[in-house]
């Protein structure tokens, strides 16, 4: 059994919460006491049937206002997979929370109200999916019950969406479409009895058979998080480098190189917890012990000895600005990538994205939710891969040193 991480997207009231409620309900993932609690709240609101959206809106403010403010994490499993869904808010002002949910998922389900069609939020969320190099996007055309389950509605929306994908250069082999009614339960878990014209899978069927590409890049990248020095009798001179294999694999005996210094050594032992292992692959949190004592500290990147990560103090990147305060060119920010950090200045805002036309334009104003391209100048060389080439080692955040807030997420171009 493996884990699949999904996030929802779409505008307010497109039915995200209802859809997740439906998925949980129809896969029988809800215990009786939760169903009873929702029944009670639904009755209090004067509803005759179960309001499935109540399953996910967790904060008092959300229940009062009937909107989703922050990401809720929902879990369910089938015999073959464990699913983690990040239910993200649809409001523009909570885009930062949508980006949070999306950056930690492999599949984005973008909901569209069949009556309303493509909205600015649809384009925004698709563009964010592209910005984050999302592995798969599923366009969920919801509320088909309100359109008499009409095939033409679905087909023309699909065509329009394909046009948008082409316009922003989102790969068509990574998008799929499904017509549903979250409220009635058509094509979510159960196949719809109202849409014989649709021969594709239900949402669950789609998720169950989804074959996610692992990171296609297998260059070895290891970010050192923490140096372990027990200084105990049994391990008196031991030094181990704790961290995560971002991509590629490492074996005992391999020669590695420290990016910042160019020093080399061979891998003596690898530990997963307290067990020695011979090899570690992507996403593994391990401890690496080297043959020679060389200078390595938090923030260093280890690679195989024969290759080097391109590094530079100048960086061209795409940013999604998350903070209320706009980007201030006069200010220095802290750039963080894994355990590495350095002071940076944004030298220039090259262009910003216009969500209406989906074109980049020349504008210097970078406000909350703006996606833009910038030139960054750093105090120290930054060892990042091109995000498109190696998604696992190509992103960073910017932190405001005065407020400590995370103000932007960036990907290297």
């Amino acid at each position: 059994m493996s884990i699949i991480r999904i996030s929802t997207a779409g505008s307010v009231d497109d039915g995200k919460s209802t859809l997740i409620g439906r998925l949980l309900f129809d896969t029988k993932s809800l215990p009786q006491d939760k169903i009873d609690a929702i029944q009670l709240s639904s009755e209090k609101k004067g509803l005759k049937e179960l309001d499935l959206a109540l399953i996910t809106d967790g904060l008092t403010a959300e229940r009062e206002q009937g909107i989703t403010i922050d990401v809720a994490h929902i879990f369910f499993s089938t015999a073959s997979r464990k699913y983690i869904i990040a239910d993200t808010p649809g409001h523009v002002e909570y885009t930062r929370n949508m980006v949070t949910g999306a950056s930690n998922s492999q599949v984005s389900m973008i909901l569209i109200d069949a009556r309303k069609g493509i909205l600015e939020q649809t384009r925004r969320h698709l563009f964010i999916a592209k910005f984050l190099e999302m592995e798969q996007v599923l366009f969920v055309i919801n509320k088909m019950d309100l359109m008499d389950y009409n095939q033409q509605t679905f087909e023309s929306l699909k065509d329009e969406l394909l046009d948008v994908c082409v316009a922003i250069d989102f790969p068509l082999d990574r998008v799929s479409f499904v017509p549903i009614s979250a409220k009635v339960g058509d094509n979510v878990v159960e196949k719809s009895k109202h849409m014989d014209w649709y021969s594709g899978p239900t949402i669950l069927g789609y998720l169950e058979q989804l074959n996610l590409r692992a990171n296609l890049n297998d260059d070895f990248r290891f970010n050192v998080q923490y140096v372990v020095r027990p200084q105990s009798a049994d391990f008196s001179d031991f030094r181990g480098y704790a961290g995560k294999v971002k991509s590629g694999t490492i074996k005992v005996g391999d020669e590695i190189q420290v990016n910042s210094s160019g020093q080399k050594s061979r891998v003596l032992r690898i530990f997963k917890g307290n067990s020695p292992i011979l090899e570690a692959g992507p996403e593994a949190s391990v401890l690496i012990e080297l043959e020679k004592a060389i200078d390595i500290s938090r923030g260093d990147t280890l690679t195989q000895s024969h290759e080097d990560v391109v590094h530079d103090k100048n960086l061209i990147a795409q940013l999604c600005w998350l903070d209320k305060r706009p980007l201030n060119i006069a200010k220095k920010y802290l750039l963080r990538h894994a355990g590495f950090q350095t002071i940076v200045a944004i030298n220039e805002v090259v262009k910003t994205l216009d969500f209406d036309t989906l074109n980049f334009m020349v504008s210097k104003l970078v406000e909350q939710n703006t996606i833009c391209e910038v030139e960054i100048k750093a105090a120290a060389p930054i060892y990042l891969d091109n995000f498109k080439r190696n998604k696992k080692n190509g992103y960073f955040i910017l932190v405001d040193r005065d407020t400590n807030a995370t103000v932007a997420v960036g990907v290297k171009q």
Binding site: I3, P31, S41, S103, A284, F396, T406
Partner: protein, 296 residues
């Protein structure tokens, strides 16, 4: 990759970030299975070095004796540093008047002692074993969650958390709550406990105990829980799915006395885990309110 390894990798990663980014972290230890799992994961994260931070237990004085016994056993087994903050002492030193009556619990007082413990020891990061699947306010938590001087959670204004980058920068007086097992479900925890042969206190397994019935729930009989005249105490075979204070943890009737049976039972259970938490029954937003004021 197997999902349990994936979860373990993620948790180990979070523990290491905490050790690297904070000067003075602490692991909040409740004595329950989730905090025992946290200890086991922390050991993996830093092996062969010991866990580089202490454990802190907020002792309400209303614990199951089995939990305290197991806590001390675990501390001994792994040579852990343990700080105990006593709610009894908070009550005495602050002249607090305790709740009374048949639903009295020290749950809210726990928060006062917790904040005191954090301040006295100048902890800048507190690792908690809360999981997102437990409750709907918890489903909204980030992995790193900033708290102000008063321990308050600003749910509507959380820091964005991008990819796996955890921003631990905080201002003077603030501290960070960290949840390394956010993405584990109850069943994941049990499956991992079984796979890794993790030891647990005996209250999790079916045993004979004196109990009484109230509001359709099974309450453990003890000196701290006042049963009314018409609530007669009977001996039952029960176990606990979640372990908090004896005043707010209900038992379930069960014959599951080993991990295989427990897992089968949970898979087919009709009631969710926190359904056995009497403290959550107070209102729909009970947990969110407690979290806002600094509770775990």
């Amino acid at each position: 990759m197997n999902y349990l390894d994936e979860l373990e990798n993620e948790s180990v990663y979070i523990f290491r970030e905490v050790a690297a980014q904070f000067d003075n972290p602490v692991l909040l230890f409740s004595g329950g299975k989730d905090s025992i799992l946290m200890v086991e994961l922390a050991i993996k994260a830093f092996y062969p070095a010991p866990i580089p931070f202490p454990l802190m237990h907020i002792d309400t004085g209303h614990n199951f004796p089995e939990t305290i016994e197991f806590r001390d056993y675990l501390v001994d087994k792994y040579n852990l540093k343990l700080i105990v903050v006593s709610v009894e002492e908070t009550i005495n030193s602050k002249g607090i008047i305790e709740e009374s009556g048949k639903y009295a619990s020290r749950n809210n007082l726990q928060t006062i002692s917790l904040l005191e413990g954090i301040n006295d020891n100048k902890f800048d990061a507190c690792l908690g074993g809360a999981r997102r699947d437990e409750e709907k306010a918890r489903a909204k938590e980030r992995i790193f969650s900033v708290r102000d001087d008063f321990g308050q959670w600003d749910a509507k204004n959380q820091r964005p958390e991008l990819f796996d980058i955890l921003n631990g920068a905080i201002n003077q007086g603030e501290n960070m709550r960290v949840f390394p097992i956010s993405n584990w479900t109850e069943l994941d925890v049990w499956n991992y406990i079984r796979r890794e042969n993790i030891e647990l206190p005996s209250v999790y397994f079916a045993h004979k105990r004196n109990v009484f019935y109230r509001d359709g729930m099974i309450w453990p009989a003890s000196d701290f829980v006042f049963s009314e005249q018409d609530e007669s105490i009977v001996e039952q075979t029960v176990r606990f799915r979640t372990v908090g204070d004896m005043t707010c943890t209900a038992a379930v009737e069960s014959n599951a006395d080993n991990l295989d049976l427990i897992i089968t039972e949970i898979e087919s259970a009709l009631i969710s885990e926190r359904g056995a938490r009497i403290d959550d029954k107070r209102s729909e937003a009970a947990m969110e309110k407690r979290k806002e004021t600094g509770y775990f």
